[in-house]
Amino acid sequence: MNRVLMSKYGPALAGAIIGVVAALLVKLGNPGNMGVCVACFTRDIAGALGLHRAGIVQYLRPELAGFIIGSFGSALIYREYKPRGGSSPMIRFGLGFFAMIGGLVFLGCPWRAYLRLAGGDFNAIAGIAGLAVGVSIGIMFLYRGFSLGAARQNPKAAGYFMPLLAIGLLALLVIKPLFGPEGTGPIFFSDKGPGSMHAPLIISLAAGLLVGWLAQRSRFCTVGAIRDLIMLKDTHLFKGIISFIIAAFVTNMVLGQFKPGFEGQPIAHTMQIWNFLGMVLSGLAFTLAGGCPGRMFIMSGEGDSDAGVFIMGMLVGAAFAHNFSLASSGAGVGAYGIPATIIGLIFCFAVGSLFMNRVE
């Protein structure tokens, strides 16, 4: 299995399995077309920790803890655990922050954009088009010499932070401590809305561990796939997302979860210009940071603390998105989602043009 995952068929095999798993997670309780959504799940975790108080999107999604621990275990076993960091962490935090803002304007990360398409939500087409444009802008900066600088090797212990954090989140999910004022919190769980919809804990965790392991071995990346295709004409990772979409689509058909159309799609809106621009922002931020949000979780498990910092930026971005009315809902974009998207684009363009590393 490991040899296949490391081979040229690796991303396609991993993508197919992850696609099936994602559709099954919806069947088992996750919200519609949200079997796996790295942005939405990070947002739900921010809510569960009380960083935002949008009551319908609060749950400590164990899938993401599984991503980190699965990747950590796989990296340890195959001797790829390599703590490193120090490549413009503050800027990476900002990129994570705005990648999340863009994701919540669209209502999903690249993973969910593909899963929405595989579930018949045609609003995802504008999002995926935006993603491709955002990645293309990022490639332009890369060709001009954009770089956040080299990371350095860190002590072995530096990479334990994210796996331990993941275990801590799982502990909070199981223990559900209640000692806040008025007998609620500090951990919050939705009793209605998307946050209340989830597959059984043990299944979500197992799925997360499996995906973490598969993605660590195969380097499955939903942004790198588009980047390598456009920049290098390299289809290696792209085959991963094609098989991901097809596998999720077929599984959705079998389970009766394929519902084609634009209107009334689960956790989606029909303002196509903002579906598009939200994902331009996300795609650009992910490309400048070096990978999709799933890949960031995987790399953080391998000991990449810059990826960990990016995730913290996403977590804080999610909190701001809801506290500042930036996040969209089924009704459309949030009150301040449009200016936030524009500010995010300005930030990413500034980073892309100001961080040049001329290595000859």
Partner: protein
Amino acid sequence: METKTVDARGFSCPQPVVMTKKVLDKLSGGRVEVLVDTVTSRENVLRFGRNAGWKGDFEETENGFKVVLEK
């Protein structure tokens, strides 16, 4: 034969590939050594080099890998 060296240690993908591409694009042949520090970068640089028509191999170094591309 002249050997060009690209030091891509510490850079995360896709930068090692971009740095390699910039050097390969200027050469019609020769030997290029690319220093990387993760398995992922090693695979990516090797795959890129081979797709570009170069022969590729690698050896382990103290803190990573030296990818050797020849044409």
